[in-house]
């Protein structure tokens, strides 16, 4: 991928709270993911930093593509949690506290590893929070410009004259 294209993709991942216009005469509530600055709605700066670190461990940058930090998944999480019910807000706030507490005993890497031990069958609040954290990271990353275009190199959502089909593999 050309560097210019990559930079454009990074820019598209930034957030700004603006309205989006739908088909004639309609508007959608919410926030469009367009270039600009984003003001935190739920998490504080320390929580965002913690989220950035955790999410980058879940989907890290590598030789192929940037990771969750570059895709600003933590800001996506902020918007989603800010517009969720109070129960989910509490899950996130207390979950991050649990993660921070666990990290204080060793390291953040160890805390994340500890939280993921029983993935799919969590036994305690820390392990349950890992499920929320991973789901949010996946949803945020793979709906970002970086996730779609740079990592997956998705080729669709375009206009084709004809669908070529594929011969039997």
């Amino acid at each position: 991928m050309e560097r210019r294209t990559a930079l454009k993709i990074v820019a598209l991942s930034a957030l700004a709270p603006v309205g989006i216009t739908g088909p004639a005469g309609t508007t959608l509530e919410g926030t469009a993911w367009t270039p600009g600055s984003y003001r935190l709605r739920f998490f504080n700066e320390q929580e965002i930093e913690l989220l950035d670190n955790l999410m980058e461990m879940i989907i890290p940058a590598d030789d192929h593509s940037p990771g969750a930090r570059a895709a600003q998944v933590s800001l996506f999480a902020d918007l989603m949690v800010a517009t969720s019910d109070n129960h989910l807000k509490e899950v996130w706030r207390s979950g991050l506290q649990l993660m921070r507490h666990e990290a204080s005993r060793s390291s953040l890497q160890a805390a994340l590893a500890r939280s993921a031990v029983n993935e799919g069958n969590p036994k305690n609040d820390l392990e349950r929070f890992y499920g929320h954290l991973k789901e949010m990271t996946i949803n945020g990353y793979y709906t970002s410009a970086i996730g779609i275009h740079h990592d997956l190199q998705y080729q669709g959502n375009t206009y084709l004259q004809r669908f070529p089909g594929t011969s039997e593999p």
Binding site: L12, S13, I20, G22, P23, A24, G25, T26, L28, E29, G30, T31, A32, W33, T34, M57, I58, I59, P60, D62, H64, G67, F76, L79, M80, T83, L112, A116, E119, G120, K134, E135, I138, N139, G140, Y142, T143, S144, A145, I148, D151, L152, Q153, Y154, Q155, G156, N157, T158, Y159, L160, Q161, R162, F163, P164, G165, T166, S167, E168, P169
Partner: protein, 535 residues
């Protein structure tokens, strides 16, 4: 006040078709639609990061589901949900366009299997109307000459297959299961002044070029061209009013913009509001002559709610793993697996299922939510698996039973003061038995392909995959049905219902083509009766 020849309530596949046919037959038609027109470009081509909440809260489809749609009260099995769009074009704005004919046996459940009831019409009577509709709307695919899935003679070229569909075809062939090119109301060549598909994979989100059949693009222009058509949008039908003889005389509606109560008079009323809302409207149309609701002295209206149960499995094929990313979006479904369980002996349940294939977008890597672990290895695995994505959804028949119903709660009203619908539904033993067989069969097909398999079966059947039918059913017996073979009320001679609610029973096939064929047939009947001065 003008009296129209016909008032059609609802603008989806049933209402749009009926209105077009009646206008062309010379009737002055007014159509009432609760929603409003939404013009392209839709949001279908928006990237997730261009949308609020990245599309994860159904923002693209919110255009079809305005917030003033009334709530539904559920007293049901888990995972039962009814679907109600509110937009000009109704369900045709938001569908995958799979277009299948019922088979002869689908009209004869009682005669052939001793369950449910026979329809008052058979395949041979409906076949000419299937022909007319297929030619009218443009259906790609081919006639595969299968008894279980009859075909017509007017198909547009089928859509080429994806690599994963060739792999699936090998698997089904090894099991003796047929796999065919899908038949869907999507244009693969220019047709009827409409552009062909551009293969963006967003059929369900609104088609910017009218390649997929919709009533606003395909039916309403033809109705308007006659000079006989009047459209009233944002008109929420409250009640059908009757004269002293108990015949329908007018529709009372509320304008959702002005909130004003209005009436429109017509000599014939055709109800096409879809299965839940049609029953709701008739049950809310109470009068001294019809104290249980319009045309409901036998208490049948609202009963026999049923539809499809849906079982989904996602597979990531090993032989496509790590292949270079290519554009696989296409027109969602390209192939279809017709019902096959009848080919392998007599099961201990009634009914069967058909399998839709690859009707989900290729943009999002669903496997990421199934894979355990995190970090670089996780990320790499997600990426490498993505080209092998193959999704199957088995749509199964459920039995129609009188206890499963839509009623109205007179003590709970929506913001327009209209009593809200109540859904009572429990799957019966046969549904559960078939669901078990369905899930096992899906896994058996998957076992013939190397790959990672992620079933989404839940702990029991779920419904209705937007295919609910049956609440105002046709029947031979006026004691156990609401409509005759022409979709006319047994009790109210100038009242017709032609949406999915009129189905006597369902099959595993998607219902829309049959809804449209029944609408054309009912329209023909109305036209004849009008000529005879009977309506």
């Amino acid at each position: 006040m003008m009296t129209y020849d016909v008032c059609v309530i609802g603008s989806g596949p049933a209402g749009g078709t009926a209105a077009k046919e009646l206008c062309e037959g010379g009737a002055k038609v007014i159509m009432l639609e609760a929603g409003q027109q939404v013009d392209p470009p839709y949001l279908s081509h928006k990237w997730p990061y261009e949308l609020p909440y990245r599309g994860l809260r159904d923002e693209k489809q919110a255009l079809f589901y305005p917030k003033d749609i009334s709530k539904v009260i559920y007293d049901s099995s888990p995972r039962v949900d009814v679907d109600r769009v509110r937009v000009l074009g109704g369900r045709s704005l938001h569908w995958n366009a799979v277009t299948l004919r019922y088979a002869p046996q689908d009209f004869e459940e009682w005669s052939m299997r001793g369950v449910e009831e026979d329809w008052p019409i058979g395949y041979e009577e409906l076949a000419p109307y299937y022909d007319r509709v297929e030619k009218l709307i443009g259906v790609c695919g081919r006639n595969d000459h299968l008894a279980i899935l009859p075909g017509g003679n007017h198909y547009l070229p089928p859509i080429p297959w994806r690599a994963s569909e060739h792999v699936l075809a090998r698997a089904t062939k090894s099991l003796g299961i047929p796999l065919i090119s899908v038949r869907k109301a999507v244009l693969t060549v220019p047709y009827d002044n409409r552009s062909p598909c551009h293969y963006c994979g967003h059929c369900m989100d609104g088609c910017d070029v009218s390649a997929i059949f919709t009533t606003p693009d395909c039916m309403l222009p033809k109705a308007r061209a006659t000079g006989n058509f009047t459209l009233r949008q944002n008109a929420i039908a409250r009640e059908i009013l009757v004269d002293r003889e108990g015949r329908a005389r007018a529709v009372s509606f509320v304008d959702r913009i002005t909130k004003k109560e209005e009436e429109v008079s017509a000599r014939v009323i055709v109800v096409c509001c879809a299965t839940v809302e049609s029953a709701r409207l008739l049950l809310n149309s109470r009068s001294p002559r019809h104290p249980n609701g319009l045309g409901n002295s036998n208490g049948v209206i609202g009963r026999y709610l049923h539809g499809h149960h849906l079982t989904i499995v996602q597979t990531y094929l090993e032989e496509l793993k790590g292949t270079p990313p290519i554009n696989q979006d296409g027109a969602t479904d390209h192939v279809y697996i017709p019902r096959y369980n009848h080919l392998f002996g007599k099961p201990d349940y009634t009914g069967g299922w058909g399998i839709q294939v690859n009707y989900a977008s290729y943009m999002f890597p669903f496997q990421a939510h199934h894979l355990h672990g995190y970090g670089a290895a996780f990320k790499t695995q997600v990426r490498k698996m993505q080209p092998g994505f193959l999704q199957m959804g088995a749509f199964g028949k459920t039995l129609s039973t009188p206890g499963n119903s839509v009623s109205v709660d007179l003590n709970q009203v929506d913001q327009y003061g209209i009593p809200v619908p109540v859904v009572r539904y429990q799957f019966v033993e046969n549904d559960v038995a078939m669901w078990k067989a369905q899930t096992q069969s899906l896994l058996e097909i998957c076992s013939k392909m190397k790959g990672s398999v992620y079933p989404d079966f839940g702990t029991g059947p779920s419904g209705f995959a937007s295919h609910e039918v049956g609440t105002v059913r046709m029947g031979k017996n006026p004691k156990t049905s609401a409509l005759d073979s022409n979709c006319r009320s047994h009790e109210v001679a100038n009242l017709f219902v032609t949406d999915g609610s009129c189905f006597t029973t369902s099959s595993e096939k998607n219902p829309t083509l049959t809804i449209m064929a029944l609408s054309v047939r009912a329209a023909d009947y109305i036209k004849k009766q009008r000529k005879l001065g009977q309506l």
